[in-house]
Amino acid sequence: MTALASGTPQARKRRPDAATVLLGVWGVLGFLFLFFPVLVIVAYSFNEGRLLQSYQGFGLGAYADALTNSAITSGVQVSIYVGVFSALLSAVLGSLAGVAVARRAGARWIGWLTALLGLVMVTPEIVNAVSLLPWFVTLGTEWGLTPLNAGIVRLIIAHSLFSCAVVTFIVRARMAGLSESLEEAAADLGAPPLRRFLDITFPLMRPAVISGALLSFTLSLDNTVLSSFVSTADATPFPVYVFASIRSALRPSIAAMSTLMLLLTLVALALVAIVLVTARRRTGEGMSLASTLAGG
């Protein structure tokens, strides 16, 4: 009997059933599908031809072009600058709101705020983009808010809208799992609100804030639609440059710079993973990367 019982799982392990094999094949095909165009871009970044679409032989010329083309390098600079500042802005706005939403979950106005954040997340980007363009023009020219005429400022604001909602939900997910008693204890011991926030609340939510900020940074680097509407000629982020060259001609240098940017994004993602893993190891709980990226 025992031999039979222990034999069965072994047999199952040795020969997985047909359904598992099919699922595995499906999964691997799915990954190939997901990676296919990325690999194509990486392969074509070594294209020596003049046009991206027609492969004319292997070489690193595209990388040299990408790093010397001032439109591309300044585009990447704008992208990174906007990414950093919109990530910082979203992190500050989103973490403050995340704490409030988690701690005051029952209040009616929190319900309204959550609905507003949800609306920000489900509004199609194109609607957002076409509504921001006239608004920035109105504020900058008619109301005399001249900073809003600068493309960089417009980009930072535009990118912060979606990101601050994302950060709010990530921080809320983190804070909802933590007890309020520590903060109450600090209050009972006479700590003023700011001290309480810096000593107790912020350290607890730090991993969520950092991963939210890095997420905002990558979202900002990726953004094309909002950027192409609100950017100005003197501040053109890299994706907007790429989008504009689709109408004229795509050069291999675009694939080369995209490959370099992919490496940058991978570094950012690896940082998120490290932050989350260390946080989980230290506190014994926390969020998985998946639930973080899926918005808590």
Partner: protein
């Protein structure tokens, strides 16, 4: 004594809560000023008109004429195609993503799951536009795919700038947004429930229908929402892969602002798009609840019968 002692901590608690509530003020102001206000502005523009060639909008005469103009046959045709591409694309994403997410969460050993998840995320965090250009390279008449096709004597295939190319592009671009929420819910699925169901004599299909599916439903709903909403407003994928044959409604809105300089009409189109998306989401949510209520009732009856 107890009654006397109680009010003090309650007030302290309330003060603490109130000061925490203030933390949400900055984001509220920020979103009201840069999200709600601009939206109200285009809502206002949509009731106006384009007075002359060089002026983008005017609100001297208020009417619903721009909505009538927006709902012209061309726009409606593009809108219909957008809705079709979006619905088919969302369903295809679900069909492709579900087995993948199930395999990742249930069949893969725990140590490989993190790697599998990273493999889903890496393409997702590659620039959306650049990935789409990757497909443009593959589908173009000068690509290696076309070379293979010519080598096999099939001639040069016309793949790029077709509605099919857009359909492929959107399924590809939004697939990770379906996989992630499905994976997150399936990961929480307790394997013992599946074993219990099997031990109680349910076959694979019955276990799937009565144990797995109800647990995964919230993930499916989240995935459908995450894919459908941005897909409806997509403007990059059809611009890169669709050409004239595969244009979508987002491009129509953008054209009114970028090219035609008719902000009144563009605003009306944007509002129509927004309302349509909300309507589909609401209808979907109601259907979802209805189906759930029906299934619940059915299951409850079944349990009562089993007990009797």
């Amino acid at each position: 004594m107890t009654a006397l002692a109680l009010p003090a901590p309650r007030t302290a608690g309330r003060r603490l809560r109130w000061s925490i509530g203030v933390l949400a003020a900055p984001i509220t102001v920020w979103l009201l000023f840069f999200f709600v206000a601009p939206f109200l502005v285009i809502l206002w523009y949509s009731f106006g008109r384009k007075p002359s060639l060089y002026v983008t909008h005017a609100n001297d005469v208020l009417s619903l004429d721009r909505y009538v103009e927006a709902l012209n046959p061309t726009f409606l045709a593009v809108f219909g195609r957008t809705l079709q591409i979006s619905l088919i694309g969302t369903l295809l994403c679900l069909v492709i993503a579900f087995p993948m997410a199930y395999w990742m969460a249930v069949k893969l050993p725990a140590r490989l799951q993190g790697i599998a998840l990273a493999l889903v995320l890496v393409p997702y965090w590659t620039n959306f536009l650049v990935r789409t250009i990757g497909w443009q390279i593959v589908l173009s008449p000068t690509s290696f795919v076309a070379d293979i096709s010519r080598g096999l004597g099939l001639g040069t295939p016309q793949l790029l700038y077709t509605p099919g190319a857009v359909q492929l592009g959107v399924v590809y671009n939004y697939l990770p947004l379906m996989i992630l929420p499905l994976y997150v819910t399936l990961e929480r699925l307790d394997h013992r429930l599946l074993e219990a169901s099997r031990d109680l004599g349910a076959n694979a299909l019955e276990t799937f229908r009565r144990v797995t599916l109800p647990i995964v439903m919230p993930g499916i709903a989240a995935g459908l929402l995450l894919v459908f909403v941005p897909l409806m407003g997509d403007y990059i994928t059809p611009s890169v892969l669709g050409g004239a044959a595969g244009s979508m409604v987002g491009q129509q809105v953008a054209t009114q602002f970028n090219v035609a300089q008719n902000w009144a009409l563009g605003s009306a189109m944007a509002i129509v798009l927004m309302i349509a998306i909300l309507a589909v989401v609401v209808v979907f949510a109601l259907l979802f609840r209805l189906v759930k209520a029906l299934v619940d009732r059915h299951e409850r009856v079944a349990i009562v019968e089993a007990e009797a």
